[in-house]
Amino acid sequence: MSHDTADATATDTRPAARAHTLQATPSVIDVRGLTKRYASGFEALKRIDLDIQRGEIFALLGPNGAGKTTLISIICGLVNASDGQVRVNDHDIVTDYRAARKQIGLVPQELTSDAFATVWNTVSFSRGLFGKRADAAHIERVLRSLSLWDKRRNKMITLSGGMKRRVLIAKALAHEPQVLFLDEPTAGVDVELRRDMWDVVRSLRDQGVTVILTTHYIEEAEEMADRIGVINDGEIVLVEEKAALMRQLGRKRLRLDLQTPLAAIPETLAHYPLSLADDGHVLVYTYAASSDEHSTPASISALLNDIEAAGVRFKDLHTEQSSLEEIFVNLVRKDA
């Protein structure tokens, strides 16, 4: 856990710095009032509004069936919207679909491939399909960046699941898109490959590609995203800078189960950020975990001394930390 926190803190500085510049840039994807109603009457998306900013990594989190894939499918042209509008780099996805789709690369969730085509042919096919002139040097660069160069003559059917996933990414990058959609990119991928894939996505972002990924791995969103959106039951319930979420994440709570309930916090403890819960049975002390790493233990011992001095007796104590997962689960449950 401490390792993860350290990692997250190290990567935090970049998005935080980027967040400032991102605000000035116009959105690369602009979704307004997007609705999808199926013939059965089921509403998969309910008037979604969403802005994706140029050059960011945006993670779309949500439980199964929340509408993640439907949203991506509409933007990419696989599903018709019932209502609303989507613009990609200011091109409408319906009236100006050619210009809109040229900007987009899509890596689908399912490992679909033409089993008997070679890696080279299937990636070249993707480039041609998007109307781009054949460019062996570019295909070679893409294949090398995904460690696929040695496999270029292999048929798809001979590749492992992880390798197939890489080929799907290579296919999506074959036409040099500005925006890359990754639908559950690391589902069923082992830990090592997942780390590799994260590196690939970061290097794409560094080249100026906007990346939108859907995931239900909280860890993935924490690790990669500049911003996080949570979708549930066809509605966007939260869009937040990851840095801001991490600040919430970093909050720890010390809970003291009191022997006798308190009606109010004693005067002598007023300078501590304390609150009462469970009808005065629990005293809660909230503090920032990561940023005050050195001062926290000292302040906790001072607090405990002062509580003792104030004559407050407790029978048990424990600490808890809210995780993105907890925030996510709460959001989703509240809406369910």
Binding site: Y38, C76, G77, L78, V79, N80, Y97, R98, A99, A100, R101, K102, I104, L106, P108, E110, T112, S113, D114, A115, F116, A117, N121, F125, S126, G128, L129, F130, G131, K132, R133, K171
Partner: protein, 253 residues
């Protein structure tokens, strides 16, 4: 027009035929040869000439049509059904291509394959019987129009089919019987008068008749009627494909 995308789909589909050479080209040639052996040599030797043409030569246009229809339908239906079945269709749908371009790529490749096959079968036939082609330009025109029309029909079937069973059902239950009863192996003059009238409702009669006319100058119905019939059928298929893409039927929910 995204010609590069059309070319990409077209070449990819033809490459698939090349990979499955045995199934795509060799097997139809073998089955046609078997028809010649059975109908041409074994039975045909006991049948007198039909309107001045030896029976073996008489059945050549019908046989080519039989292969052309079944292969166009099966090539095109499989060509679009397979990516739908495996899921790779996502890429075509998310690409900057129009519906017309998708149809040109897939149907063009399927029609090309059946045309090549038609010529191979003609070449095979020339080993068995002396061939005569009175109107070669019309012959190629009929061949091309039929290949395109039935590849379109195959494309429609491929979109409509949700499983392999449905994929087979139209060729098996409709195309093959219509072709066998469409005068491939006989002149409709040989039928009793009632059946001659019934037969006129079979569109394949017009295709075979027109095609046979381009070889030997003999036909069951007028050449104009044959041409009109195939153009009507082509128009129907085009309208249906247009409707499919307009509504997203079975391809884009």
């Amino acid at each position: 027009m995204n010609f590069r995308a059309v070319g990409t789909i077209y070449h990819f589909e033809l490459a698939r035929a090349w990979r499955t050479l045995l199934q795509s080209l060799v097997s139809p040639v073998i089955s046609t040869s078997l028809y010649f052996v059975v109908f041409g040599a074994a039975i045909g030797s006991r049948i007198q000439e039909v309107e001045g043409v030896s029976y073996g030569a008489f059945i050549v246009p019908g046989l080519v049509m039989l292969m052309l229809l079944t292969q166009s339908v099966s090539n095109a239906s499989f060509g679009i059904f397979f990516p739908k079945f495996t899921g790779t269709i996502y890429e075509v749908l998310s690409a900057p291509v129009s519906y017309l371009e998708i149809v040109l790529g897939y149907v063009g490749a399927a029609a090309t394959k059946s045309l090549i096959l038609g010529f191979i079968i003609l070449a095979t036939a020339s080993f068995f019987v002396p061939l005569r082609i009175d109107h070669p330009v019309w012959m190629v025109l009929f061949l091309a129009l039929t290949a395109i029309t039935f590849s379109l029909l195959g494309f429609i079937i491929g979109i409509w089919a949700e499983g392999f069973e449905k994929l087979q059902i139209v060729p098996l239950l409709i195309i093959t019987p219509l072709t066998f009863l469409g005068g491939s192996f006989y002149s409709i003059d040989m039928l009793p008068p009632v059946w001659q009238t019934v037969t006129l409702f079979n569109p394949v009669v017009y295709l075979v008749s027109g095609f046979r006319w381009s070889f030997y100058g003999i036909s069951d119905v007028s050449v104009g009627a044959s041409l009109l019939m195939i153009l009507i059928f082509l128009g129907l298929c085009l309208a249906l494909v247009g409707w499919i893409f307009k509504t997203g039927y079975n391809i884009k929910p």
